[in-house]
């Protein structure tokens, strides 16, 4: 760290909680000298290394790819899921977005459907349960036809991919005042509703995933648009409109229950 103009010092207010059953509280930590070239998670690494050397337990947080694609990372930074930068996962947020002397409040995603496990780690397995309900095309291995017999207009494929870019991080749920998973579910439903491969199970999928969402303790969508603002992949809420259409059509006309 030769370039001193790139060094900042911060105060971190971090949520510490031993497990889901115990009480949690914010604790203050000085960050020590931080290079503005670091990513947010590298900054946490530095803090954790220092805690470890002092014999204290480091702050637990989820992370893996550190390039914005696995969806593992994510905490609330100064009140915003993944921090204030639009379209960015926490691991891609760099410290040059902060100023010397700043206080940063770091807390876990809070939502009824995401029970806390430890410190900044929450249990997002409800999102997997939602996918199990129908977030796929029911095709067994070996049963596929020659790929180019299914033609998909380029624009449709692009739209499907826009929706399928969702990384399952759960920020939309954490940001939603009602704790709704509509953006997440709508991204999957849209991808498969747009593509010919997804059409046969379209009605069944929309009904099953929406019903499961209620069952798992996710709230209803109140059109607050907080989810879209927090989403690191900028999944559009037009997907929610599509999900609503799919759902109503299915409830009115489909024989699926």
């Amino acid at each position: 760290m030769s370039d001193t103009s790139k060094i900042i010092n911060l105060t971190l207010k971090i949520w510490r909680q031993e497990n889901g059953a115990s009480a949690g509280a914010f604790k203050n930590y000085p960050s020590g000298p931080i290079s503005t070239d670091m990513s947010f998670l590298e900054m946490l690494d530095v803090v954790n290394e220092a805690l470890t050397r002092q014999g204290e337990e480091p702050v637990a947080f989820d992370h893996d790819c550190r390039e914005g694609i696995c969806g593992a990372c994510g905490t609330v930074i100064n009140g915003q899921a993944h921090g204030h930068q639009q379209g960015t996962t926490l691991c891609q947020l760099h410290m040059r977005n902060f100023k010397d002397g700043d206080t940063i409040v770091i807390e876990p995603f809070r939502s009824r459907a995401f029970p806390l496990i430890k410190d900044l780690i929450v249990d997002r397995s409800a999102l997997d349960t939602l996918v199990a309900e129908g977030g796929y095309v029911s095709v067994n291995t070996g049963g596929a036809i020659e790929a180019n017999t299914i033609l998909v207009p380029q624009q449709t494929a692009d739209q499907a991919l826009d929706a399928s870019e969702c990384i399952g991080c759960g920020a939309c749920v954490a940001a939603c005042p009602n704790g709704s998973a509509m953006l997440f579910v709508s991204a999957k439903v849209s991808q498969l509703a747009l593509l010919p491969q997804g059409k046969p199970e379209r009605a069944k999928r929309a009904l099953a995933m929406v019903r499961k969402m209620d069952e798992l303790g996710f709230g209803n969508c109140g059109n607050e648009r907080e989810c879209e603002a927090a989403c690191p992949k900028q999944i559009s809420i037009t997907n929610i409109a599509r999900l609503n259409r799919e759902f109503f059509k299915a409830s009115l006309f489909s024989r699926e229950k």
Binding site: D128, V139, T141, V152
Partner: protein, 641 residues
């Protein structure tokens, strides 16, 4: 130890069909009587779990992450190869086979690679049927691009996130089986050991990463799909949790480890920029289609790139390899970057970087065109480095990326331990000494969707003893060992003079490997590494700080366990690199070079797979050789001039 590759007889093109016919089958009604453990939920593990469950087996799938969808495969960017020949440019199964064998510098098995090329087309069909949104042409057909220096366009892709889209397809198939009750998914569970009873794989011991509980799980077969070991180097493009633990534990229980020194170093990554850095970011290789690689001609030239006139720039790849230019294979591009930096011509703060310049492409095709192709990569680069690559050349440097080595497997993907199968990057099987771009995704899915569903039945149908008791002696003993290790790791916790963090040890090991077992290797350096590794290990066990307890979520403990295994495994890598005195693919032994400093293979002495057998932590492993024979291609010296 017997290395029987079980390659079917007969002509190359008929081997796989013939083999599938010859394999014993499990009666459909009996499949539900068999339990299979799959460790890993990446492309290989998720595709295997889903396919085996669809067939009727009871599957238990484990992964470290909180969700199977987050396996490291999610990060793959560039694409997946298949021999569809949709572009009518002369591709064929044989050409994909040939390119893979040649790209691997003639150190892979012909029969395996041919099968891979054969099933590559089924993979694309399968993924499209699942709704994977691949890139398309205006007419609605699938689009392709050329990738990694291939002379044909055979790479299927979904923007820069092909791995994500393929994995979401496989994950969907997996979750469907979870819903149907055929797969039990156990996330946040780490395999700590393999249970081997009477010489046969019978189950695994895991740690529940939330509660810390150590658990025994029994099954009729164990499938490892636990990915590569690139993180031995500390810094790599791999995800943070990628590790060697599962594979290494299997090795210690008797599975041979093949070609562990074959590690691919990718030429286009964002350079290291600080000692706090936790991982390296890959910049897709597709950038080399339009970017020109250069360094200043004068060593130590610290001028800004724009101030260095054309005549004082060295476009070394174009100069040295006129026919391939900037598109030479990964190993060649990486080595040349290192050579330039070693000669003092490296750029940037550390001098460990070269330029990848888009100025000419922008002049030729317009800024908008170049942006359209690479916009998301430029954006990612700018986020990390705060520099705009359309205004100032990108800086890149090689980084550890992929491991061709791994557990030895036969044609059925079974290791030297009966009942233990290994898929995906965790095995050694298809890429020889160097992997071609877009071929890892293909191999992971080939193994999981098409190979293991066929071969596992052959093993299960002939299985003698089907009684498995996870409460039995062998399980308990293995579990006790795992618990003992955890206690030992935690025993050193607490601060104090001379105490160091686990990351600190990992970084030290990584630097050592990078230095001596990285892009260029020689006898002296390897010997030194071989001496130093046990010393680091010794200190680790005395002085590593591991705070917290074993009975709760403890990320320090998780990391410590993985680093402890890297500290043993590294030795096997170095021993392997020492043994292979030739250069081949990624493995450049400085003693074995042509007069023009290109890698020089030695087919008469090293045309073999080096499979290592564990003999003890403080003794060197025993080498077994599986000779490679080439009946359908003629090994030649690779030339990209």
């Amino acid at each position: 130890m017997l290395l029987d590759a079980k390659i079917p007889t007969g002509p190359l093109v008929e081997k796989w069909d013939k083999h599938r016919f010859d394999l014993k089958l499990v009666n459909p009604a009996n499949k539900r009587k068999f339990d299979i453990i799959v460790v890993g939920s990446g492309l290989a593990g998720a595709s295997a779990s889903a396919s085996l469950a669809e067939m009727g087996y009871n599957v238990k799938t484990f992964c470290i992450q909180d969700s199977p969808r987050r396996a490291h495969s999610i990060a793959a960017q560039g694409g997946i190869n298949a021999a569809k020949n949709y572009q009518n440019d002369g591709d064929s199964i044989f050409r994909l086979f040939y390119d893979t064998i040649k790209g691997g510098d003639f150190r892979a098995r012909e029969a395996n690679v041919y099968r891979l090329a054969q099933v590559s087309n089924n993979i694309i069909d399968q993924c499209v049927a699942q709704g994977v949104p691949f890139a398309r042409e205006y007419g609605g057909g699938l689009a392709n691009r050329s990738f990694g220096g291939a002379q044909v366009s055979r790479t299927f892709y979904a923007r820069g996130q092909t791995g994500q889209q393929l994995l979401l397809g496989a994950y969907g198939a997996l979750m469907r089986q979870v819903k149907l009750g055929k797969v039990t998914m156990l996330p946040r569970q780490e395999m700590l050991d393999l249970v081997v009873e009477d010489g046969v794989a019978r189950g695994i011991v895991t740690r529940n990463l939330i509660t810390g509980a150590i658990e025994c799980h029994g099954a009729h077969a164990v499938v490892l799909a636990t990915g590569g070991y690139g993180n031995a180097y500390f810094l790599s493009t791999n995800a943070m949790a990628s590790n060697v633990t599962a594979a290494f534990r299997a090795y210690k229980r008797g599975a041979a480890m093949a070609n562990p020194c074959f590690v691919q170093i990718h030429p286009t990554c964002i350079p290291v920029h600080g000692d706090y850095q936790s991982k390296l970011t890959l910049m897709s290789e597709s950038l080399r289609n339009d970017g020109r690689v250069w360094v200043p001609i004068k060593p130590g030239d610290k001028r800004a790139p724009a101030d260095i006139p054309e005549a004082e720039r060295d476009y070394y790849l174009e100069k040295k390899y006129p026919s391939f230019g900037n598109l030479v294979p990964r190993d060649v591009a990486s080595r040349n970057a290192k050579e330039q930096c070693d000669a003092g011509k490296g750029v940037g703060e550390t001098g460990l970087a070269v330029y990848l310049d888009f100025a000419d492409a922008i002049k030729r095709d317009s800024l908008a065109t170049v942006q359209k192709k690479y916009g998301n990569l430029f954006h990612m680069y700018e986020k990390i480095t705060d520099q705009n690559p359309t205004e100032r050349p990108m800086m890149i440097y090689p980084a550890v990326h992929y491991t061709m080595g791994g557990l030895w497997v036969d044609y059925n993907l079974m290791s030297t331990i009966p009942g233990l199968f290994v898929l995906g990057e965790a095995n050694f099987s298809d890429h020889g000494a160097n992997r071609l771009g877009a071929s890892a995704l293909m191999q992971g899915l080939a193994d999981g969707y098409f190979v293991i569903p066929a071969t596992i039945g052959g093993y299960l149908a002939g299985m003698a003893n089907r009684n498995i008791d996870p409460k039995g002696q062998t399980f308990l003993a293995t579990r006790k060992e795992a618990e003992g290790r955890i206690s030992r790791l935690l025993a050193g916790s607490g601060k104090g003079a001379g105490k160091r963090t686990v990351d600190d040890f990992h970084r030290q090991l990584g630097l050592l490997l990078w230095e001596h077992c990285g892009m260029a290797r020689n006898e002296k350096g390897l010997q030194e590494a071989l001496k130093t590794i046990p010393a680091i290990r010794e200190e680790f066990w005395h002085s590593a700080i591991v705070p917290g307890t074993g009975e709760s979520l403890n990320q320090s403990l998780e990391r410590a366990g993985r680093v402890a295994d890297f500290l043993e495994f590294a030795q096997v890598m170095v021993v392997d690199a020492l043994q292979r005195k030739e250069s081949c693919g990624c493995h450049l032994r400085e003693e074995s070079q042509t007069p023009e400093n290109e890698a020089l293979r030695d087919d008469s002495n090293y045309s073999h797979v080096a499979a290592w057998e564990y003999t003890g932590t403080d003794t060197l492993p025993t080498l077994h050789k599986e000779p490679l024979s080439f009946e359908n291609v003629q090994p030649s010296q690779r030339s990209y001039k």
